[in-house]
């Protein structure tokens, strides 16, 4: 610590109050959550909350749903984001700013607004999506998008891809612009076609950005709640019930605070593990 320069010391002092508040809030909230997950309503120690969670069939179902929801959303967001970033990278500087603003709009749309909007678009009585698809002769009759369990899951994933792909795209675009152009020029002289250039230069150069984006979107998607809540409320049946919508339901609808705390702790551990694996592989990558 003695090696710290004067300015650095000042900087630490300035940050300290905020750091303390954040850490205290975090510690308090996590602590009280852990405490209530191990106690009964009367305050006695118990493991009942956890065993209730593991014997609840809806929890298993919601975990499977969460996996489907995360894989579908993240794959879609990353692939579409990469495509958009590659296209944008071809534009001139001025165009990039202009087009990025348009693209970032879905991300900037309020969750509630996006949820209601998609719900209306999917509507099978007067939804715009069915209308457009029928007029383009892609489908013959209106599709009830949110009316069966599997269709509802696909529909919310599509909405979530729309909501989130632009952010991945922005990350990738930033990454793409750091790749030195002479790499491509050298490869071109060596006779590598565009597909080879993409696989041999773009992807390896972009790998650190891809890993970080992947980690962030996975964690965000697991925790993302408003879209599903607005569009389907977890239904039909338990078709789109994810762990977070179920935690909300347990806590705020059924008033089972302790069981909700237990389930959110389990989710916390899972997310922590995912983040740990990612961070370690990113650190290894950088050390190389």
């Amino acid at each position: 610590m003695s090696k710290l320069a004067r300015e650095e010391k000042t900087a630490f002092k300035m940050v300290l109050p905020y750091l303390l508040i954040i850490v205290l809030l975090f510690v308090y909230l996590i602590g009280s959550n852990i405490y209530s997950s191990f106690t009964t309503e009367e305050g006695a120690f118990t493991l009942q909350n956890y065993s209730n969670v593991f014997t609840d069939p809806v929890v298993g179902r919601s975990m499977i749903n969460t996996v489907v929801w995360v894989i579908g959303s993240v794959l879609g967001q990353l692939l579409l984001g990469l495509l958009v970033a590659l296209l944008l990278n071809e534009s001139t500087k001025g165009q990039i700013i202009f087009r990025s603003i348009i693209l970032i709009l879905p991300w900037a749309t309020l969750d509630i607004v996006a949820g209601v909007m998609w719900k209306w678009m999917y509507n099978d009585m007067y939804g715009v999506l069915n209308d457009v698809l029928v007029k383009m002769n892609i489908i013959n009759d209106y599709i009830p998008w949110l009316a069966t369990e599997n269709m509802a899951m696909i529909s919310v994933i599509i909405a979530n891809i729309w909501k989130g792909f632009c952010l991945s795209g922005m990350f990738f675009l930033a990454g793409l612009q750091t790749i030195p152009p002479d790499l491509y020029e050298a490869a071109e002289i060596d006779g590598a076609n565009s597909i080879r250039r993409f696989w041999r230069i773009t992807i390896p150069q972009l790998k650190p950005v891809i890993m970080t984006t992947l980690m962030l979107t996975v964690i965000w998607t697991i925790n993302y709640f408003p879209l599903i809540y607005i569009m389907t409320g977890g239904g039909p049946g338990y078709g789109t019930e994810t762990v977070v919508t179920y935690i909300y339901k347990l806590g705020f609808r059924f008033l089972e605070f302790n069981k909700a705390a237990a389930l959110s702790n389990i989710l916390f551990v899972a997310i922590f593990a995912i983040a740990f694996v990612f961070l370690r592989s990113i650190a290894k990558e950088e050390a190389r």
């Binding site: 099978d124 949110l146 239904g235």
Partner: protein, 413 residues
């Protein structure tokens, strides 16, 4: 150092002031929360008469429950609050968040004017925890223009299930996306409410009289489940049921797409906003029934949180808000919702309209939802039962058996 001392001092001053103030905080949720200036007028009169200060906070329905729940749990709620009659009062009372009101209600002369079937909704372990303020009951809302077009009598809506099927089929033209009756099937409270109307209309009941076990797995309950889901599956008189509920159907009704659906007094301003041309071309009637007339009631009560530091004044305000004079002024200004006081319902000239007459005639048939803390979980099982049948995952017989077992497990805890 001096600056921080000053800051601490200022904070203490602020704390001291908020601690001793005589302001009555009231939280208003539900549909009356939008009527801003009316509250100002009514509360202003109270402040003038008593010299007390009232702080009104209005909340939209969507956020109100979470807001109130969080505040009550943290022990820092308002002094007087609105609570939904759909099970909130006993739920909060069981947690020890509400002040018992039985003795206060006994000492007040307005108590006997409250519609008697409202009391079970505020009861917990034999004690009353709320004063019902406004109420409503579910009815059949129907579009008279569509009745005309289908060659039906616009003043003779269906009274029985047989007539309901017959008329709904005449009104339905699926190729044009026009439907006779809207079956609520979303995973929301609407679906449970609709099933309760059909269940009690078939002569069944949801839970046993002491709320200790499920009572809907009976021939009547099965008949209600089959008939309700058959409206969508067999007779095909409804839009895709699992995606819509009565709120959606009301909007479709405003556009002449759905002819009949569950609705109530709150629907009138909403359907007229959705389509101003519909005024005079829609009406309400007792919902068609299988064996006995039935409806389900809802509404809001005033409750005093036990964390309140101002309980005496809160009760004064509650009495004032529920007084004959206040209600007459309110109805004069707003035309609704339905007062919890019978004398206002029968005396107010505004409420002599034929649509209101139907409501007052139906109201005595209305049952309340089981006033127990487990009700939200019971309700979810009913929603799952109906969705599973509508999705064709299980037969009605299997669905009702599963739901009965799950509800019994919930109530046994």
């Amino acid at each position: 150092m001096r600056k921080s001392t000053l800051l601490v001092f200022m904070m203490l001053v602020v704390l001291a002031f908020t601690g001793v103030s005589q302001v009555i905080n009231i939280w208003i949720g539900g549909q009356v929360a939008e009527l801003d200036e009316t509250w100002e007028m009514i509360v202003g009169k109270f402040e003038e008469e008593t010299g007390l200060k009232v702080e009104v906070q209005l909340f939209g329905f969507d956020i109100y429950y979470d807001k109130l729940l969080t505040a009550l749990q943290a022990g820092q709620g308002p002094d007087l609050a609105f609570a939904d009659l759909g099970g909130w009062v006993p739920t909060f009372a069981e947690k020890g968040w509400l002040e018992p009101m039985g003795a206060l209600l006994d000492s007040w002369d307005g108590t006997e004017q409250i519609w008697p079937n409202l009391w079970p909704t505020v009861l917990h372990n034999g004690e009353r925890y709320g004063l019902p303020w406004y109420t409503d009951c579910r009815l059949l809302l129907y579009n008279q223009t569509m009745f005309d077009q289908a060659g039906l009598d616009r003043n003779d809506p269906p009274a029985t299930w047989e007539e309901l099927v017959y008329q709904a089929m005449k009104l339905t033209d699926a190729s044009k996306r026009v439907f006779g009756y809207g079956v609520s099937g979303t995973k929301t409270e609407h679906t449970t409410l609709a099933y309760i109307i059909f269940l009690y209309g078939a002569g069944g009941q949801l839970l046993t009289d002491d709320y200790s076990a499920a009572a809907f797995n009976t021939p009547e309950g099965l008949r209600a489940l089959k008939f309700y889901t058959d409206l969508a599956l067999t007779y095909a008189v409804s839009p895709n049921a699992v995606t819509y509920n009565e709120d959606d159907y009301r909007n479709m009704m405003a556009q002449n797409r759905v002819a009949m659906a569950v609705g109530g007094p709150w629907s009138f301003p909403l359907i007229e906003t959705a389509n101003p041309d519909i005024v005079g071309n829609y009406s309400v009637s007792l919902h068609p029934y299988g064996a006995t007339p039935a409806s389900v009631l809802g509404g809001w009560a005033l409750v005093i949180p036990s964390a309140s530091k101002n309980k005496d004044n809160a009760w004064e305000l509650a009495k004032y808000l529920t007084s004959y004079e206040t209600w007459m002024t309110w109805i004069e200004a707003k035309g609704g919702p339905m007062p919890s006081r019978q004398d206002v319902c029968f005396d107010s000239p505004v409420l002599q309209d034929p649509k209101w007459k139907v409501i007052f005639e139906t109201f005595p048939h209305a049952v309340s939802r089981p006033p127990i803390p487990e009700y939200p979980q019971v309700s979810e099982q009913i929603q799952i039962m109906i969705q599973d049948v509508l999705l064709g995952k299980v037969t009605p017989e299997e669905a009702i058996k599963t739901a009965e077992a799950n509800v019994n497990a919930i109530l046994a805890k």
